[in-house]
């Protein structure tokens, strides 16, 4: 069963991240690396096939709409929520239980959330 995992950071975390210098961001990444490596190690042990992407700041998002044949492109995330998407995983898990086990190992789950969405297969 394929699932999309939406890795959501809290708005506060995004604000804090924006206040960090390049060097501080690098340091943060280095600090969190062991936990991410544990997660990837676990997925590999479980034989979970995964792809994913880390996203840039949601403040740089664009929203595309088409109205009466005109394309309108506006700035900012589409939905203003307390948590904002910071990345995703697309993974093939045995079942929802395994997907939940994966989600709780994602470092983002500590302060934000991981939303699991099953894919539609046609």
């Amino acid at each position: 069963m394929k699932y999309l995992f939406l890795l959501n950071n809290s708005a506060e975390q995004w604000d804090e991240w924006r206040s960090l210098s390049r060097a501080e961001r690098h340091e943060r990444r280095e600090e969190s690396l062991p936990r991410w490596n544990d997660l990837f190690g676990w997925m590999s042990e479980q034989g979970i096939d995964v792809s994913g992407l880390e996203l840039e700041d949601p403040a740089n998002a664009r929203v595309v709409r088409v109205q009466d044949g005109e394309t309108l492109v506006t700035d900012g995330p589409y939905v203003e929520t307390k948590e904002l998407l910071g990345g995703y995983f697309l993974a093939d898990c045995k079942d929802l239980d395994q997907a939940i086990e994966l989600a709780e190992r994602v470092p983002v789950a500590d302060k934000g959330s991981v939303e699991i969405r099953p894919l539609v297969t046609h």
Partner: protein, 116 residues
């Protein structure tokens, strides 16, 4: 650059589409996939948010809740991952999706690995 195109719309309206209307939406997706073929990395349609599960870990305890993390009228229904030359190019491709007319497509830029 990697661009994630998030497809948002009203789930109730999607559910209320007639088979012919639904087929017209899929036709536009197929047309999009044909035009975007060289730029299209992957994509997927998501099952209804009623099948969503949200996981949080607080003070070492895993908290699992049914449903999406935010209750909003406009929900994520699917996505495409594009490898584009610019955000403008991604916007042009995104404007071809049926959901750009009925909902909205949010474009998010993927992080490039920094040179060491």
């Amino acid at each position: 650059m990697k661009v994630l195109a998030l497809i948002y719309g009203n789930e109730e309206k999607w559910a209320a589409l007639t088979p012919a209307e639904s087929e017209a939406v899929y036709d536009k997706h197929r047309a999009f996939a044909a035009v975007a073929a060289a730029k299209l990395v992957t994509g997927a349609e998501l099952a209804s948010t009623s099948a969503a599960t949200t996981v949080r870990v607080r003070e070492g305890q895993t908290v699992v809740t049914d449903g999406p993390f935010a209750e909003t009228k406009e929900v994520l229904g699917g996505f495409y991952l594009l490898d584009c030359d610019s955000l403008e190019e991604a916007a042009e491709l995104a404007s071809r999706l049926a959901e750009a007319e009925t909902g909205a497509i949010e474009l998010r830029v993927g992080r490039e690995e920094e040179a060491a």
